[in-house]
Subunit: 227 residues, 2 copies
Amino acid sequence: MATTPDLLASDQVSLAVSTVIFALRPHPTTGSTTLWLPLVRRIREPYEGLWALPGGPLEPDEDLAASARHTLERTTGLTPGYLEQLYSFGAVDRSPADRVVSIVYWALVRPDEDARATDGENVEWVVADEVEGLAFDHDAILGYALDRLRAKITYSPIAFAFLTPEFTLADLRAVHEAVLGRPLDPANFRRQVLASGTVVPTGSHLTGTSHRPPALYRRAGHLEENR
Amino acid sequence: MATTPDLLASDQVSLAVSTVIFALRPHPTTGSTTLWLPLVRRIREPYEGLWALPGGPLEPDEDLAASARHTLERTTGLTPGYLEQLYSFGAVDRSPADRVVSIVYWALVRPDEDARATDGENVEWVVADEVEGLAFDHDAILGYALDRLRAKITYSPIAFAFLTPEFTLADLRAVHEAVLGRPLDPANFRRQVLASGTVVPTGSHLTGTSHRPPALYRRAGHLEENR
DNA sequence: ACAAAAGTGTTCGACCTACACCCATGG
DNA sequence: CCATGGGTGTAGGTCGAACACTTTTGT
Protein backbone atom coordinates (compact mmCIF):
# COMPACT_ATOMS: atom_id res chain seq x y z
CA MET A 1 0.00 0.00 0.00
CA ALA A 2 2.61 2.53 1.06
CA THR A 3 5.37 3.13 -1.41
CA THR A 4 8.66 2.43 0.30
CA PRO A 5 11.71 2.82 -1.86
CA ASP A 6 14.37 0.84 -0.06
CA LEU A 7 17.53 2.66 -0.60
CA LEU A 8 19.53 1.93 2.54
CA ALA A 9 17.89 -1.40 3.22
CA SER A 10 19.96 -1.73 6.37
CA ASP A 11 19.03 1.33 8.36
CA GLN A 12 15.51 2.23 7.42
CA VAL A 13 14.29 3.27 10.85
CA SER A 14 16.79 5.07 13.01
CA LEU A 15 16.47 5.74 16.71
CA ALA A 16 17.36 8.98 18.45
CA VAL A 17 17.12 10.16 22.03
CA SER A 18 16.34 13.83 22.68
CA THR A 19 16.05 15.70 25.95
CA VAL A 20 14.03 18.70 27.06
CA ILE A 21 16.22 20.37 29.68
CA PHE A 22 14.52 22.82 32.04
CA ALA A 23 16.15 25.33 34.34
CA LEU A 24 14.79 28.34 36.22
CA ARG A 25 16.30 31.73 35.41
CA PRO A 26 15.06 35.31 35.58
CA HIS A 27 13.07 36.45 32.60
CA PRO A 28 15.10 38.88 30.44
CA THR A 29 12.47 41.63 30.50
CA THR A 30 10.13 41.07 33.45
CA GLY A 31 12.83 39.70 35.75
CA SER A 32 10.49 37.13 37.32
CA THR A 33 11.94 33.64 37.33
CA THR A 34 10.68 31.43 34.53
CA LEU A 35 11.48 28.23 32.69
CA TRP A 36 14.38 28.17 30.25
CA LEU A 37 15.80 25.44 28.09
CA PRO A 38 18.81 25.01 25.83
CA LEU A 39 18.36 24.56 22.09
CA VAL A 40 20.84 23.45 19.47
CA ARG A 41 21.16 25.02 16.04
CA ARG A 42 21.03 22.46 13.28
CA ILE A 43 24.10 22.47 11.09
CA ARG A 44 22.81 19.91 8.60
CA GLU A 45 19.75 19.19 6.56
CA PRO A 46 16.95 18.68 7.22
CA TYR A 47 15.98 21.97 8.87
CA GLU A 48 19.51 23.35 8.65
CA GLY A 49 19.78 26.62 10.55
CA LEU A 50 16.68 26.04 12.68
CA TRP A 51 16.75 25.40 16.40
CA ALA A 52 16.04 21.95 17.80
CA LEU A 53 16.02 20.00 21.03
CA PRO A 54 19.41 18.56 21.94
CA GLY A 55 19.78 14.87 21.23
CA GLY A 56 21.52 12.29 19.16
CA PRO A 57 21.40 8.74 17.90
CA LEU A 58 21.17 5.96 20.46
CA GLU A 59 24.52 4.21 20.85
CA PRO A 60 24.37 0.40 20.97
CA ASP A 61 26.09 0.23 24.33
CA GLU A 62 24.13 2.84 26.28
CA ASP A 63 20.77 2.77 28.03
CA LEU A 64 18.08 5.24 27.06
CA ALA A 65 18.45 7.38 30.17
CA ALA A 66 22.22 7.24 29.83
CA SER A 67 21.92 8.59 26.33
CA ALA A 68 19.78 11.47 27.61
CA ARG A 69 22.37 12.19 30.30
CA HIS A 70 25.17 12.21 27.76
CA THR A 71 23.27 14.67 25.62
CA LEU A 72 22.78 16.88 28.65
CA GLU A 73 26.49 16.69 29.46
CA ARG A 74 27.53 17.39 25.90
CA THR A 75 25.35 20.43 25.33
CA THR A 76 25.47 22.10 28.75
CA GLY A 77 28.13 20.37 30.83
CA LEU A 78 25.50 19.71 33.48
CA THR A 79 24.11 16.81 35.47
CA PRO A 80 20.33 16.53 35.88
CA GLY A 81 18.66 16.77 39.28
CA TYR A 82 15.77 14.89 37.76
CA LEU A 83 15.41 12.84 34.60
CA GLU A 84 12.35 11.03 33.28
CA GLN A 85 11.18 9.57 30.03
CA LEU A 86 8.57 11.78 28.40
CA TYR A 87 7.23 9.99 25.36
CA SER A 88 8.30 8.40 22.09
CA PHE A 89 7.51 10.09 18.83
CA GLY A 90 7.43 8.10 15.66
CA ALA A 91 5.12 9.55 13.03
CA VAL A 92 6.23 8.45 9.60
CA ASP A 93 6.51 11.99 8.25
CA ARG A 94 8.06 13.73 11.24
CA SER A 95 11.37 13.94 9.43
CA PRO A 96 11.51 14.51 5.67
CA ALA A 97 13.23 11.87 3.52
CA ASP A 98 14.35 9.61 6.37
CA ARG A 99 12.50 7.82 9.17
CA VAL A 100 13.46 8.70 12.73
CA VAL A 101 11.84 7.57 15.96
CA SER A 102 12.76 9.80 18.88
CA ILE A 103 12.55 8.74 22.48
CA VAL A 104 12.34 11.96 24.45
CA TYR A 105 13.37 12.57 28.04
CA TRP A 106 12.90 15.65 30.17
CA ALA A 107 15.34 16.86 32.78
CA LEU A 108 15.50 19.45 35.54
CA VAL A 109 18.76 21.10 36.57
CA ARG A 110 19.44 22.85 39.86
CA PRO A 111 20.45 26.50 40.00
CA ASP A 112 23.84 25.79 41.58
CA GLU A 113 24.53 23.41 38.71
CA ASP A 114 23.00 25.78 36.22
CA ALA A 115 25.46 28.51 37.23
CA ARG A 116 28.27 26.28 35.97
CA ALA A 117 26.59 25.77 32.61
CA THR A 118 29.00 26.00 29.73
CA ASP A 119 27.10 26.52 26.54
CA GLY A 120 28.48 24.40 23.76
CA GLU A 121 28.89 25.55 20.21
CA ASN A 122 25.56 26.37 18.56
CA VAL A 123 23.76 26.11 21.90
CA GLU A 124 21.46 28.83 23.16
CA TRP A 125 19.18 29.06 26.18
CA VAL A 126 15.71 30.50 25.60
CA VAL A 127 12.52 31.12 27.59
CA ALA A 128 10.39 28.00 27.32
CA ASP A 129 7.05 29.73 26.83
CA GLU A 130 8.34 31.89 24.01
CA VAL A 131 9.77 29.14 21.85
CA GLU A 132 8.36 28.66 18.38
CA GLY A 133 9.45 27.47 14.99
CA LEU A 134 11.62 24.55 16.07
CA ALA A 135 12.76 21.88 13.67
CA PHE A 136 10.81 18.63 13.18
CA ASP A 137 7.87 18.22 15.58
CA HIS A 138 9.86 19.73 18.41
CA ASP A 139 7.36 22.53 19.10
CA ALA A 140 4.77 19.91 19.93
CA ILE A 141 7.25 17.91 21.99
CA LEU A 142 8.18 20.95 24.05
CA GLY A 143 4.51 21.74 24.63
CA TYR A 144 3.98 18.19 25.79
CA ALA A 145 6.93 18.43 28.16
CA LEU A 146 5.65 21.69 29.63
CA ASP A 147 2.23 20.15 30.22
CA ARG A 148 3.80 17.17 31.95
CA LEU A 149 6.04 19.31 34.14
CA ARG A 150 3.17 21.55 35.21
CA ALA A 151 0.91 18.63 35.92
CA LYS A 152 3.51 16.63 37.76
CA ILE A 153 4.70 19.40 40.05
CA THR A 154 1.23 19.54 41.57
CA TYR A 155 1.27 15.95 42.77
CA SER A 156 4.92 14.91 42.87
CA PRO A 157 7.89 16.29 44.79
CA ILE A 158 9.98 17.24 41.77
CA ALA A 159 10.34 20.91 42.70
CA PHE A 160 13.39 19.99 44.79
CA ALA A 161 15.28 19.39 41.57
CA PHE A 162 15.20 23.16 41.12
CA LEU A 163 16.57 23.88 44.60
CA THR A 164 19.79 23.67 46.57
CA PRO A 165 19.83 21.08 49.40
CA GLU A 166 18.77 23.70 51.95
CA PHE A 167 15.93 26.07 51.23
CA THR A 168 13.10 28.06 52.77
CA LEU A 169 9.46 27.31 52.13
CA ALA A 170 9.33 30.60 50.24
CA ASP A 171 12.02 29.26 47.89
CA LEU A 172 10.00 26.12 47.33
CA ARG A 173 6.88 28.15 46.73
CA ALA A 174 8.72 30.39 44.28
CA VAL A 175 9.61 27.30 42.23
CA HIS A 176 5.98 26.22 42.09
CA GLU A 177 4.88 29.71 41.16
CA ALA A 178 7.48 30.01 38.42
CA VAL A 179 6.51 26.67 36.91
CA LEU A 180 2.77 27.19 37.15
CA GLY A 181 2.96 30.86 36.27
CA ARG A 182 0.59 31.98 38.99
CA PRO A 183 0.85 33.03 42.66
CA LEU A 184 0.06 30.58 45.43
CA ASP A 185 -1.28 31.32 48.90
CA PRO A 186 1.75 31.23 51.25
CA ALA A 187 -0.26 30.03 54.23
CA ASN A 188 -1.96 27.15 52.45
CA PHE A 189 1.15 26.18 50.54
CA ARG A 190 3.04 25.98 53.80
CA ARG A 191 0.50 23.68 55.41
CA GLN A 192 0.26 21.40 52.39
CA VAL A 193 4.00 20.98 52.14
CA LEU A 194 4.46 20.32 55.84
CA ALA A 195 1.57 17.87 55.86
CA SER A 196 3.04 16.02 52.91
CA GLY A 197 6.07 15.05 54.94
CA THR A 198 8.41 15.62 52.02
CA VAL A 199 10.35 18.21 53.96
CA VAL A 200 12.30 18.33 57.24
CA PRO A 201 13.40 21.41 59.19
CA THR A 202 17.15 21.72 59.63
CA GLY A 203 16.77 23.74 62.84
CA SER A 204 18.66 26.73 61.54
CA HIS A 205 17.20 29.89 60.10
CA LEU A 206 18.15 32.15 57.25
CA THR A 207 19.33 35.55 58.48
CA GLY A 208 19.83 38.96 56.93
CA THR A 209 16.42 39.22 55.32
CA SER A 210 14.99 42.55 56.49
CA HIS A 211 12.11 40.63 57.98
CA ARG A 212 11.42 37.65 60.21
CA PRO A 213 14.06 34.98 59.54
CA PRO A 214 12.52 31.96 57.80
CA ALA A 215 13.31 28.40 58.84
CA LEU A 216 15.49 26.30 56.59
CA TYR A 217 14.41 22.88 55.37
CA ARG A 218 15.86 19.86 53.66
CA ARG A 219 13.91 17.33 51.60
CA ALA A 220 12.79 14.31 53.61
CA GLY A 221 13.46 11.32 51.34
CA HIS A 222 16.91 12.50 50.30
CA LEU A 223 17.48 9.05 48.82
CA GLU A 224 17.83 10.31 45.26
CA GLU A 225 14.78 8.54 43.90
CA ASN A 226 15.58 9.75 40.45
CA ARG A 227 18.65 11.36 39.04
CA MET B 1 34.77 1.80 27.70
CA ALA B 2 32.16 -0.74 26.71
CA THR B 3 33.32 -3.45 24.38
CA THR B 4 31.13 -3.46 21.32
CA PRO B 5 31.99 -6.06 18.73
CA ASP B 6 30.45 -4.72 15.59
CA LEU B 7 29.29 -7.66 13.69
CA LEU B 8 26.26 -6.33 11.82
CA ALA B 9 27.46 -2.75 11.71
CA SER B 10 24.27 -1.72 9.94
CA ASP B 11 21.56 -2.81 12.30
CA GLN B 12 23.00 -2.59 15.78
CA VAL B 13 19.93 -1.25 17.57
CA SER B 14 16.62 -2.60 16.39
CA LEU B 15 13.21 -1.20 17.22
CA ALA B 16 10.16 -3.25 18.11
CA VAL B 17 6.63 -2.33 19.12
CA SER B 18 4.82 -4.56 21.60
CA THR B 19 1.30 -4.32 22.96
CA VAL B 20 -0.29 -5.32 26.24
CA ILE B 21 -3.86 -6.21 25.29
CA PHE B 22 -6.41 -6.30 28.08
CA ALA B 23 -9.89 -7.80 28.00
CA LEU B 24 -12.35 -8.70 30.75
CA ARG B 25 -13.42 -12.33 31.02
CA PRO B 26 -14.66 -14.55 33.83
CA HIS B 27 -11.95 -16.10 35.95
CA PRO B 28 -11.60 -19.86 35.20
CA THR B 29 -12.02 -20.95 38.83
CA THR B 30 -13.73 -18.15 40.77
CA GLY B 31 -15.93 -17.01 37.89
CA SER B 32 -15.61 -13.34 38.79
CA THR B 33 -14.64 -11.18 35.85
CA THR B 34 -10.97 -10.31 35.74
CA LEU B 35 -8.31 -9.02 33.39
CA TRP B 36 -6.95 -11.30 30.68
CA LEU B 37 -4.38 -10.77 28.00
CA PRO B 38 -3.08 -12.72 25.02
CA LEU B 39 0.48 -14.02 24.96
CA VAL B 40 2.51 -15.40 22.10
CA ARG B 41 4.81 -18.41 22.36
CA ARG B 42 8.27 -17.66 21.08
CA ILE B 43 9.32 -19.96 18.26
CA ARG B 44 12.88 -18.65 18.02
CA GLU B 45 15.82 -17.88 20.21
CA PRO B 46 16.20 -16.05 22.46
CA TYR B 47 13.72 -17.42 25.00
CA GLU B 48 12.38 -20.02 22.55
CA GLY B 49 9.33 -21.75 24.01
CA LEU B 50 8.56 -19.06 26.56
CA TRP B 51 5.55 -16.77 26.42
CA ALA B 52 5.93 -13.14 25.47
CA LEU B 53 3.88 -10.04 24.74
CA PRO B 54 2.70 -9.83 21.14
CA GLY B 55 4.69 -7.45 18.99
CA GLY B 56 7.06 -7.13 16.12
CA PRO B 57 9.60 -4.92 14.42
CA LEU B 58 8.53 -1.44 13.43
CA GLU B 59 7.93 -1.21 9.71
CA PRO B 60 9.40 1.87 7.98
CA ASP B 61 6.03 2.97 6.62
CA GLU B 62 3.87 2.65 9.71
CA ASP B 63 3.32 4.89 12.71
CA LEU B 64 3.94 3.57 16.20
CA ALA B 65 0.25 3.25 17.10
CA ALA B 66 -0.46 1.69 13.72
CA SER B 67 2.14 -0.93 14.43
CA ALA B 68 0.48 -1.70 17.75
CA ARG B 69 -2.89 -2.00 16.02
CA HIS B 70 -1.46 -4.33 13.41
CA THR B 71 -0.03 -6.54 16.12
CA LEU B 72 -3.42 -6.62 17.79
CA GLU B 73 -5.08 -7.52 14.52
CA ARG B 74 -2.54 -10.21 13.72
CA THR B 75 -2.66 -11.99 17.07
CA THR B 76 -6.34 -11.69 17.96
CA GLY B 77 -8.22 -10.37 14.93
CA LEU B 78 -9.53 -7.53 17.09
CA THR B 79 -9.72 -3.76 17.01
CA PRO B 80 -8.89 -1.85 20.21
CA GLY B 81 -11.48 0.28 21.99
CA TYR B 82 -8.58 2.15 23.53
CA LEU B 83 -4.91 2.37 22.67
CA GLU B 84 -2.20 4.34 24.38
CA GLN B 85 1.56 4.38 24.50
CA LEU B 86 2.83 2.89 27.75
CA TYR B 87 6.58 3.34 27.86
CA SER B 88 9.76 2.59 25.97
CA PHE B 89 12.15 0.00 27.27
CA GLY B 90 15.75 0.05 26.16
CA ALA B 91 18.10 -1.42 28.74
CA VAL B 92 21.24 -2.67 27.01
CA ASP B 93 20.93 -6.20 28.40
CA ARG B 94 17.18 -6.73 28.06
CA SER B 95 17.74 -9.07 25.17
CA PRO B 96 20.75 -11.40 25.11
CA ALA B 97 23.19 -11.06 22.21
CA ASP B 98 21.29 -8.38 20.32
CA ARG B 99 20.08 -4.89 21.22
CA VAL B 100 16.36 -4.23 21.02
CA VAL B 101 14.45 -1.16 22.10
CA SER B 102 10.75 -1.84 22.56
CA ILE B 103 8.09 0.83 22.45
CA VAL B 104 5.15 -0.66 24.31
CA TYR B 105 1.48 0.20 23.91
CA TRP B 106 -1.47 -0.98 25.94
CA ALA B 107 -4.92 -1.64 24.55
CA LEU B 108 -8.40 -2.37 25.83
CA VAL B 109 -10.87 -4.45 23.84
CA ARG B 110 -14.63 -4.48 24.24
CA PRO B 111 -16.50 -7.67 25.11
CA ASP B 112 -18.56 -7.69 21.93
CA GLU B 113 -15.29 -7.49 20.01
CA ASP B 114 -13.63 -9.95 22.33
CA ALA B 115 -16.30 -12.54 21.56
CA ARG B 116 -15.12 -12.53 17.95
CA ALA B 117 -11.51 -13.10 18.97
CA THR B 118 -9.76 -15.62 16.80
CA ASP B 119 -6.65 -16.82 18.51
CA GLY B 120 -3.75 -17.03 16.12
CA GLU B 121 -1.22 -19.83 16.08
CA ASN B 122 0.79 -20.00 19.32
CA VAL B 123 -1.51 -17.47 20.97
CA GLU B 124 -3.02 -18.06 24.38
CA TRP B 125 -5.11 -15.87 26.66
CA VAL B 126 -4.22 -15.89 30.35
CA VAL B 127 -5.30 -14.16 33.56
CA ALA B 128 -3.22 -11.00 33.90
CA ASP B 129 -2.55 -11.26 37.63
CA GLU B 130 -1.33 -14.84 37.36
CA VAL B 131 1.27 -14.31 34.67
CA GLU B 132 4.89 -15.06 35.46
CA GLY B 133 8.01 -16.19 33.73
CA LEU B 134 7.62 -14.27 30.51
CA ALA B 135 10.47 -13.78 28.06
CA PHE B 136 12.73 -10.71 28.17
CA ASP B 137 11.63 -8.05 30.66
CA HIS B 138 7.99 -8.66 29.83
CA ASP B 139 7.00 -9.53 33.41
CA ALA B 140 8.04 -6.04 34.46
CA ILE B 141 6.34 -4.48 31.46
CA LEU B 142 3.09 -6.22 32.24
CA GLY B 143 3.28 -5.10 35.86
CA TYR B 144 3.85 -1.57 34.69
CA ALA B 145 0.85 -1.77 32.36
CA LEU B 146 -1.37 -3.09 35.15
CA ASP B 147 -0.32 -0.26 37.43
CA ARG B 148 -1.06 2.28 34.74
CA LEU B 149 -4.46 0.78 33.95
CA ARG B 150 -5.49 0.69 37.59
CA ALA B 151 -4.30 4.21 38.22
CA LYS B 152 -5.85 5.62 35.10
CA ILE B 153 -9.28 4.10 35.52
CA THR B 154 -9.70 6.12 38.72
CA TYR B 155 -9.31 9.48 37.02
CA SER B 156 -10.01 8.91 33.35
CA PRO B 157 -13.06 7.57 31.53
CA ILE B 158 -11.38 4.54 30.00
CA ALA B 159 -13.78 1.99 31.48
CA PHE B 160 -16.09 2.52 28.50
CA ALA B 161 -13.56 0.70 26.36
CA PHE B 162 -14.66 -2.45 28.21
CA LEU B 163 -18.36 -1.85 27.56
CA THR B 164 -20.87 -1.98 24.75
CA PRO B 165 -22.29 1.41 23.66
CA GLU B 166 -25.29 1.02 25.97
CA PHE B 167 -24.84 -0.07 29.55
CA THR B 168 -26.21 0.21 33.06
CA LEU B 169 -24.33 1.91 35.86
CA ALA B 170 -23.97 -1.53 37.43
CA ASP B 171 -22.15 -2.67 34.30
CA LEU B 172 -19.81 0.30 34.54
CA ARG B 173 -19.25 -0.35 38.21
CA ALA B 174 -18.51 -4.01 37.52
CA VAL B 175 -15.73 -2.94 35.16
CA HIS B 176 -14.16 -0.74 37.81
CA GLU B 177 -14.45 -3.47 40.41
CA ALA B 178 -12.90 -6.05 38.11
CA VAL B 179 -9.97 -3.81 37.26
CA LEU B 180 -9.35 -2.61 40.78
CA GLY B 181 -10.11 -5.98 42.33
CA ARG B 182 -12.28 -4.60 45.11
CA PRO B 183 -15.98 -3.76 45.59
CA LEU B 184 -17.21 -0.19 45.29
CA ASP B 185 -20.17 1.41 47.01
CA PRO B 186 -23.00 1.42 44.44
CA ALA B 187 -24.60 4.60 45.80
CA ASN B 188 -21.43 6.66 45.83
CA PHE B 189 -20.20 5.27 42.53
CA ARG B 190 -23.47 6.26 40.95
CA ARG B 191 -23.25 9.84 42.19
CA GLN B 192 -19.63 10.26 41.14
CA VAL B 193 -20.25 9.00 37.63
CA LEU B 194 -23.35 11.14 37.14
CA ALA B 195 -21.57 14.20 38.53
CA SER B 196 -18.63 13.62 36.18
CA GLY B 197 -20.88 14.19 33.19
CA THR B 198 -19.22 11.41 31.23
CA VAL B 199 -22.49 9.58 30.86
CA VAL B 200 -25.94 10.31 29.40
CA PRO B 201 -29.19 8.41 30.02
CA THR B 202 -30.74 6.93 26.90
CA GLY B 203 -34.22 7.07 28.39
CA SER B 204 -34.82 3.35 28.06
CA HIS B 205 -34.46 0.74 30.75
CA LEU B 206 -33.15 -2.78 30.85
CA THR B 207 -35.94 -5.30 31.48
CA GLY B 208 -36.13 -8.91 32.55
CA THR B 209 -33.89 -8.60 35.59
CA SER B 210 -35.90 -10.06 38.50
CA HIS B 211 -35.64 -6.67 40.20
CA ARG B 212 -36.17 -2.99 39.48
CA PRO B 213 -35.19 -2.27 35.86
CA PRO B 214 -32.01 -0.19 35.70
CA ALA B 215 -31.68 2.81 33.39
CA LEU B 216 -29.46 2.52 30.34
CA TYR B 217 -26.72 5.02 29.60
CA ARG B 218 -24.41 5.98 26.78
CA ARG B 219 -21.07 7.73 27.16
CA ALA B 220 -21.29 11.49 26.84
CA GLY B 221 -18.30 12.47 24.73
CA HIS B 222 -18.80 9.71 22.16
CA LEU B 223 -16.27 11.49 19.99
CA GLU B 224 -13.77 8.66 20.04
CA GLU B 225 -11.03 10.57 21.83
CA ASN B 226 -8.71 7.64 21.52
CA ARG B 227 -8.98 4.51 19.51
C1' DA C 1 7.36 53.14 64.27
C1' DC C 2 6.94 50.87 59.89
C1' DA C 3 7.37 47.60 56.11
C1' DA C 4 7.51 43.01 54.85
C1' DA C 5 7.54 38.43 54.96
C1' DA C 6 7.06 34.33 58.41
C1' DG C 7 3.90 31.76 60.51
C1' DT C 8 -0.96 30.61 62.89
C1' DG C 9 -5.99 30.42 63.15
C1' DT C 10 -10.60 30.17 61.33
C1' DT C 11 -14.37 29.78 58.27
C1' DC C 12 -16.55 28.04 54.26
C1' DG C 13 -17.79 24.88 50.81
C1' DA C 14 -16.79 20.78 47.95
C1' DC C 15 -16.34 16.21 48.06
C1' DC C 16 -15.76 11.46 49.71
C1' DT C 17 -17.43 7.54 52.83
C1' DA C 18 -20.49 4.89 55.19
C1' DC C 19 -24.76 3.44 55.78
C1' DA C 20 -29.88 3.83 56.35
C1' DC C 21 -33.75 3.67 53.68
C1' DC C 22 -37.32 3.57 49.92
C1' DC C 23 -38.58 1.78 44.97
C1' DA C 24 -39.82 -1.51 41.42
C1' DT C 25 -39.63 -5.76 39.47
C1' DG C 26 -39.69 -11.24 39.09
C1' DG C 27 -40.62 -15.23 41.39
C1' DC D 1 -44.78 -10.99 50.13
C1' DC D 2 -40.07 -11.62 49.74
C1' DA D 3 -35.52 -11.36 47.67
C1' DT D 4 -32.68 -8.46 44.84
C1' DG D 5 -30.55 -4.93 43.05
C1' DG D 6 -31.84 0.18 41.56
C1' DG D 7 -31.90 4.52 43.31
C1' DT D 8 -32.19 8.52 47.09
C1' DG D 9 -31.06 10.74 51.50
C1' DT D 10 -28.09 12.07 55.07
C1' DA D 11 -24.51 12.63 58.69
C1' DG D 12 -19.43 12.84 59.56
C1' DG D 13 -14.76 13.61 58.11
C1' DT D 14 -11.09 15.45 55.13
C1' DC D 15 -9.23 18.78 52.46
C1' DG D 16 -8.38 22.93 49.91
C1' DA D 17 -9.40 28.13 49.16
C1' DA D 18 -9.74 32.49 51.12
C1' DC D 19 -8.41 35.63 54.30
C1' DA D 20 -7.82 37.76 59.02
C1' DC D 21 -4.39 38.05 62.25
C1' DT D 22 -0.04 37.70 65.08
C1' DT D 23 5.20 37.41 65.10
C1' DT D 24 9.88 38.80 64.19
C1' DT D 25 13.26 40.79 61.88
C1' DG D 26 15.80 45.15 59.28
C1' DT D 27 15.69 49.92 58.48
